[in-house]
């Protein structure tokens, strides 16, 4: 230990084998690099061992696995196995099918984490395991701006736990209470996601986007009332599900026949058209989630007597609810890990080892999400030259910003690749597709020709932090999670018709606020576009096609542009026009699926 304390302490955090595998590297408590495996393998939500992400992290730190003090894993695999076996024992013989399909992966990989780490990384040192929800809690509190805060973690399920709360003080975390499997808010939401014909652990955000089309009044939404029968909610926010409505504890599909009967029809087919009934069901589950979360947070504030709240777990990606938290619960400040679902736990476990287990004082606050791979000008030029791509290069930053702003003002769609790739599910101006929000046709154009996705899904606005309150009815001061597109706020009435493409059906927008110190080019572009159009706001959507992960490398970005209706690609200071490279054009529409 003494030897380790004298040297720079590198800790590698890993999460894998469920969904969204990731790796993160800490150098003396500071995040050097973090990325999700899906971005390298190009398989969305890839759960496999994050070998590419880990290699990227080690390379970014300029180290090998021999230099690591510890490798941390984001859960206790044997505890999770105990839960899985308990499900099979409780549900015998109905669990046979899932037993046969799930146990081989437990035997072959999930219970052999140390072996995989040693074999794949060539690492010979210590491997530490922390509880799943502790990793979530650490991922948000230990990198937050707060010295003290209440902590709430809510997801589908970890080992046994589905919901926890506690307190973070300094470099320590205490999780005081929990709700355990099979009772889970995250799994109710996923069940409705499955019921509506969407994919679980992937498309919950589509249900969130669909909800505002439905009846969001709890007094008159009949599906909310029906879903309310499924769960018993106490005043302190604790809850218990009636498991006769569910099959996820033993089956390979989530809703039971009783659940289908309750909602008045069978599970929807994939890609079914969403009618009024489906919209009301989506609204119903959103209302239910908001009710439970509000009760939990009010209870936690009373119990912990904290003014600050930090959140993590998949449910913390519910940006519609996040935007209401400060107004509804009495907390004064909020922070949410940008990668709040399981992907973020690699940062959590690494930070917990450094700060809590090894006892080092916190010396890092997460101020941006650009933690992934970045590419130099020469790397991008080499790629373009090798592929014989026709391109031009801007002579100065000023020329670049004004030219791209002009293209956007002329209603062109621009792929924008700068800095390090984003950490988490949102594109934040490093791997983004940008367009003009004042163009009423932009939403339809992006949905149909670029993203190939469902027409009901909204697009998000990006706005400079100092302009946000002019256009959006945000909390004041604007909470930092808004920088990571984690909060939905109403667009001010006056502007709703001016920016129709980023105003959702209920008048809200999932805005991203941009601070100049985070991403100066992006900030300057927003300002330059504002001067031309009169509105310093851009549509910002993730640089990918439906069903694919966000692009990572220049190759991914170029390929995505050439397969979609993106008109221009800006990588560093290089400008590539789609129509200048007809030999590389292809149609991505048939590959757009999830």
């Amino acid at each position: 230990m003494a030897e380790k304390n004298r040297k720079t302490v590198y800790i590698l955090g890993l999460s894998c084998y469920y969904h969204d595998a990731s790796a993160a590297l800490l150098k003396d408590g500071v995040i050097v690099a973090a990325a999700e495996e899906e971005r390298f393998t190009r398989k969305k939500h890839d759960s496999s061992f994050p070998i590419n992400a880990a290699r990227f992290c080690l390379q970014s730190g300029g180290i090998t696995s021999n230099d690591l003090a510890y490798v941390g894993f984001y859960e206790k695999p044997f505890l999770k196995m105990e839960r899985v076996l308990s499900q099979h024992l409780e549900m015998f013989p109905r669990s046979l099918k899932t037993f046969l399909s799930s146990i081989p992966s437990w035997v072959n990989e999930k219970l052999r984490v140390p072996k995989a780490v040693r074999k794949k990384l060539g690492y010979k040192g210590d491997i530490l395991f922390i509880e799943h929800h502790l990793a979530h809690a650490a991922s948000t509190f230990l990198v937050s701006p707060f010295r003290e805060a209440a902590i709430v973690t809510v997801d589908g399920v970890g080992e046994w736990t589905t919901t926890t709360y506690g307190v973070g003080k300094g470099n320590n975390i205490t999780l005081q209470k929990e709700i355990v499997f099979p009772h889970s808010i995250g799994l109710i939401y996923s069940t409705v996601t499955a019921y509506l014909g969407f994919s679980v652990n992937n498309s919950e955000y589509k249900v969130m986007g669909l909800a505002p089309y439905g009846n969001m009044d709890p007094r008159t939404n009949e599906y909310y009332k029906k879903l309310r029968q499924v769960v018993d909610i106490k005043d302190d926010g604790s809850y218990r599900l009636d498991m006769s409505y569910f099959r996820y504890h033993y089956g390979d599909r989530m809703p039971s026949q009783k659940f289908c009967d309750l909602l008045g029809g069978p599970v929807e087919q994939k890609d079914a058209t969403m009618a009024k009934r489906h919209q009301d069901i989506a609204a119903g589950v959103q209302l239910l989630t908001e009710e439970i979360m509000t009760k939990i947070l009010i209870h936690v504030r009373k119990e912990t007597k904290q003014r600050n709240i930090v959140l993590a777990g998949g449910v913390a990606l519910n940006s519609v609810y996040n935007g209401k938290i400060l107004r509804k619960t009495g907390f004064k400040k909020i922070w949410i890990q940008p990668n709040a679902s399981d992907g973020g736990t690699s940062i959590g476990v690494a930070s917990y080892i450094y700060n809590a287990i090894l006892g080092h004082q916190r010396n890092f606050i997460q101020k941006s999400a650009y933690l992934g791979p970045s590419y130099t000008s020469s790397q991008i030029r080499d790629f373009l030259d090798e592929r014989k791509v026709r391109y031009s290069r801007f002579n100065s930053e000023k020329e670049m910003v004004s030219s791209v702003a002009s293209l956007l003002n002329a209603n062109k769609v621009v792929g924008w690749m700068q800095l390090g790739m984003e950490w988490g599910p949102r594109a934040l101006g490093a791997r983004s597709i940008l367009a003009n929000p004042c163009n009423p046709a932009a939403k339809e154009l992006l949905n149909a020709k670029v993203k190939h996705r469902e027409p009901f899904r909204p697009f998000a606005p990006a706005v400079c932090e100092d302009d946000a309150l002019t256009y959006f009815d945000c909390d004041d001061p604007i909470p930092e999670p808004t920088d990571y597109m984690l909060m939905v706020y109403p667009v001010r009435k006056k502007w709703q018709k001016v920016i129709p493409s980023v105003t959702h059906v209920d008048g809200s927008g999932r805005l991203q606020t941009v601070r100049r110190d985070q991403n100066p080019r992006y900030y300057d572009l927003l300002k330059a576009f504002g001067k031309l159009s009169g509105v310093p706001i851009l549509i910002n959507t993730s640089f990918n096609i439906r069903g694919e992960p966000i692009v990572c490398s220049p190759y991914d970005a170029y390929k995505c542009m050439m397969g979609t209706g993106i008109d221009y690609l800006v990588m560093d200071t290089f400008l590539i026009a789609r129509e200048d490279n007809p030999k590389d054009m292809w149609d991505s529409e048939e590959f757009a699926k999830d």
């Binding site: 037993f99 005081q176 302190d236």
Partner: protein, 88 residues
């Protein structure tokens, strides 16, 4: 000569691929059989015994009497370093 070599290589590659597929299928059948045995004997008998003893592995039903809260004590906080080497 070249043609003969390449067709021989293609034949051998085909054999190799076929053998791999065969091995994979056999492994799948054996694994499924073994897992089925484990499920029926291991999980099945334990489950039946638990049912007789009224032991439950998941908290599926409400406890008798009105519960005020479903929160459970967790008390998860920093432990000695050795605890984190364990996978359970």
């Amino acid at each position: 000569m070249g043609n003969r070599n390449s067709s021989l290589r293609a034949f051998l590659d085909g054999c190799k691929e076929g053998m791999q597929l065969f091995g994979h299928n056999i492994a799948l059948i054996i694994n499924t059989g073994l897992l089925l045995l484990v499920y029926l004997i291991g999980v099945g008998f334990t489950s039946i015994a638990a049912m007789i003893a009224k032991k439950h592995f998941l908290e599926m039903k409400k406890k008798k009497g009105a519960q005020e809260s479903y929160w459970k004590d967790l008390g998860l906080k920093k432990k000695p370093l050795e605890e984190y080497y364990r996978q359970f």
